[in-house]
Amino acid sequence: MAEPTITLNVTRYRPGQDQVPTTQAYAVPYKEDWVVLDALNHIKDQMDGTLSYRWSCRMGAYAVAAA
């Protein structure tokens, strides 16, 4: 059986390139233990390196005070 996938609709805006934000669909593997960040990382690593995003989870930076 083929691996189940799920479609992720990502709203993208590239300053200097896009006039308005556009939506792009990516079919990514559906895995029970994945969070959205896992799917985004999968897209950037395997499908589309031009996708850029910020995140602050999973950084192991609890109890770190930024100056």
């Binding site: 200097g16 950037k44 390196g49 031009t50 850029s52 995003y53």
Partner: protein, 143 residues
């Protein structure tokens, strides 16, 4: 790096790590940047960071390998004693070709550096390829 240039160090482990780093540097040559944007280009950022991390890792691992003593946090199980006779000096790491190596003042030559320098010589060639590649990114139109 944790395995070969971590808390407890010995020659075989460090040799292995230096070899791994050479392989990684070789693989780095195959990097392709898809994103040509000039705004928030995390792909270029990640590639540059990897480039510099490999530089630092190579300097650390190759320097640790030629320092055949234990000193401070540099703990070698195969050389547990501090050796002021041979190593009361800083280690300087250069990317060298045979040509640039000859130009370095003799005082810059670590007495034990022969093996390490050979390693770095090999890397110099790869380095210039990388630099020309980086210039290519910079010369290409952004959009």
């Amino acid at each position: 790096m944790e395995e070969g240039a971590g808390i407890y160090r010995d020659e075989p482990k460090m040799e292995k790590t230096c070899k791994t780093l050479r392989t990684l540097r070789e693989r780095f040559k195959d990097i392709i940047i898809e994103d040509r944007g000039s705004t928030f280009n995390t792909e270029v950022m990640n590639a540059l960071e990897l480039d510099f991390m490999l530089d630092v890792a190579e300097a650390v691992a190759n320097s640790a390998l030629i320092r055949r003593e234990s000193r401070g946090s540099h703990t070698r199980t195969d050389f547990p004693k501090r050796d002021d006779e041979n190593f009361l000096k800083h280690t300087l790491a250069y990317r060298t070709t045979r040509r640039t190596k000859d130009r370095l003042p003799a005082s810059h030559h670590h007495p034990m550096a022969t093996g390490g320098e050979k390693v770095l010589e090999g890397l110099e060639t790869q380095r210039s390829v990388l630099d020309s590649e980086r210039r290519q990114w910079q010369n290409q139109p952004l959009h």
